[in-house]
Symmetry: C2
Subunit: 160 residues, 2 copies
């Protein structure tokens, strides 16, 4: 089984170019820590309050504080003050569009973990709310074809 991507054009051979401006590397500068991923997981699960983030992601409060600040800084989360009538002002952290767009990455990671790191296919699963069927991450091309791992090539981006 072939597990590698085919290189095309100036990208072949691999030794001819360097991935110094690779966006995977850039993305990892923001979310490479375990705690950042877990904070984001909780954000997708609907957590918005400081204490809940710390408790549910199982990180200490100082770590929760610095991750939340960093993620706000990077534009992944928004800090939002609000006040219920008769109550004091509270802060909530909510996903921005940029943060929300990272969701497929989390799903892909969960899917992989469910397959390879758990005897029963994982404790929880995502389902399509319309039809109740389990949800998977898939590679699909713009023409609508489902793309297998052996049908991929890497090319210099068109619009550059």
């Amino acid at each position: 089984m072939k597990h590698t991507v085919r290189m095309t054009g100036s990208l072949d051979p691999r030794s001819s170019w360097e991935a110094s401006n690779c966006t995977i590397a850039k993305a990892l500068e923001i979310v490479s820590t375990r705690s950042a991923f877990l904070i984001l997981r909780e954000a997708f699960f609907g957590t918005t309050r400081f204490d809940d983030f710390a408790e549910r992601a199982r990180v200490s409060e100082p770590v929760a504080a610095s991750r939340l600040h960093e993620l706000v800084q990077e534009g992944m989360l928004e800090r939002e003050d609000y006040r219920e009538p008769g109550k004091r002002t509270r802060q909530h952290y909510r996903l921005t569009d940029k943060g929300a767009d990272l969701f497929p990455t989390l799903v892909a990671l969960m899917q992989w973990g469910n397959r390879w790191l758990d005897d029963h296919g994982g404790p929880v699963e995502l389902r399509h709310s319309d039809c109740g069927q389990p949800v998977e991450v898939q590679l699909t091309c713009a023409a609508g074809h489902r793309v297998g791992p052996d049908e991929l090539e890497l090319a210099v981006h068109h619009q550059r």
Copy 2:
């Protein structure tokens, strides 16, 4: 815009359960470091030799050595001796099925980075080798529907 997943059954409310055996957390124990992701990226790009991993992932040799050992240990990579006629024995590191299955996660991360961290949509893109169209990561349900971020629910896994 709603960015959170709906909880169903015993998972609602979020505070009623803890994600201690979450497979995202388990996955992160293996690949939470930047260097692990970059080593895997190079494996997908076809790199197999020690020096090439270190150079192309831009990590020091000691770091490359320990990541490669860990990834072999975890069953993501296989170390394989081989010998060309008239040459000395060489070692190659190749992706196992388990390692290769992490590819969608890398693609999802690259896609996100291309969208949000680069002015031109990223330096390189993946294409479908059959039709040449750009490849995307998509959430799809088992019934074949394309699933939007607001059509997701989280449920206890059926087969448990």
